[in-house]
Amino acid sequence: MPIINGTVLFNKENHGDGLKKALELKPQEIIMEIRESGLKGRGGAGFPTGTKWMLAAAAISEKKFVICNADEGEPGTFKDRVLLDEYTRLVFEGMIIAGYAIGASKGYVYLRGEYRYLLNKLKSEIDKMYSENQLGNNILGSNFHFDIEIRLGSGAYVCGEESALIESLEGHRGEPRNRPPYPVNTGFMGYPTIVNNVETFAAVPVIIFKGAEWFEKIGTDRSKGTKLISVSGDCEKPGVYEVPFGTTINEMLEMVAAKDTKAVQIGGASGICVPKSEFGRNISFEDVSTGGSIIIFNKDRDMLQVLKNFMEFFVEESCGQCTPCRIGNIKLLEGVQMIERGECSMSYLKELIELGKTMQIASKCGLGQSSPNPFIAIMTHFENEIFTQW
């Protein structure tokens, strides 16, 4: 299927009165529209947004909550920062529409502590929305009420995981919960809660304004719309790019003027490392899926050092609650250090890869389930490079 180009978010002409239009629809009609658009979560896991909202809407409860996940901590990812900074309204409007659709009257933005400098700007935008009757009581003349409050994180990557985020909002250590139950049933304070990424919310008013049919034409068969990609590393034009799903890695590299690229890390430290031979692959949920980052490595980079940096990250950020992740990441890091010193035998390396596979299965949350990804990928694709160094 050909890819239809188009911008969804980075084109102000698409930002109409989605909120007003939404409030004229019935909640079920909004959920239908979002389902038909094919919108999937932009935070990494790609769960269908319409389905999540439908589950929360169906839950019977006196209170429900909407949470915007602005904890953006995945190394190499900064697209939510740009959305919050430059397209603030779109994000808040998406939250209000979500609240109306599922029957919630309170929304929280969980903003990572590192983005505290954005706080005043976000707060003044919220104040403006209250004064324009877009927040508070009887929004735009409807009988819908909604409030938004911003909460700050305090420097813990794992709090981006939705159940850890909820723990943190409730005043606890940010330790992920067992799932199920999922937040749509038992979320904040035990009430049905939807947690969505900043970019997911931002797409909502645009979809309502332009229509699901318009949105659904952009992208690929199974990945609708566009994706914001944060590009960093070895290239001339780093930054945030909006591309339709289906864009190949080669096309991305050309866009950002990257030269002599040896490999790219897609989806941050917990994503996957793609070597040059696979640059024809494309960014989509069905091929290379990403929460929104590409880190580029040119031919001079030492992939073992790259891997060491990732493993140090996971050792520090593991919440320590479950053994495969707490101990496993340390073992993998030690393995990298052994290789560095030339002390790792091939059979021990094989054992470490097996350990990684065990962690993928046995860890409690996505952190430990995905932290072995770069280890396995880099050891597989760059075995020759790494083991000819000694």
Partner: protein, 157 residues
Amino acid sequence: MLVSEKSALTAEIEGIVNEYGNTRDNLLPILQRILNKHGHISEFAQQEVARLLDIHPVEVYGVVTFYGFMRVKEEGRYIVRLCKTISCDLAGKEAIARAIERELDIKFGETTQDKKFTLEYINCMGMCDAGPAMLINDTVYTHLTPRKAIEILKNCK
């Protein structure tokens, strides 16, 4: 701590708890306010928060020690946090790290004797397209060079 200082801190914490409400879900905002004003959350402050929220002090301690930005001891007035994650590493954070260490004459994890600067590493702070990046208290600095980093430190009064 002097008794008068203690009661001043108690009064202050009571004020903050009153403002947010004495329920557990307000624990983080309450602690963040104390941290912002005092630079750390002392054992005494933790006990007072626990008392006012009617939870065990160990619950508060558990939270304070979980989050990277919270601290229990007094440290520098300026917390300098240099990003050490991959994109900033590729962009040359090592040179910045060495330059700052030389300039302040401390290692990462340490505080200068005059309690002006505490030097730490931080993980990716979302400025990867503009690395090397660092955070000094709440302010972000990007596109660092050794010279620029030192200038910035010199401008901290």
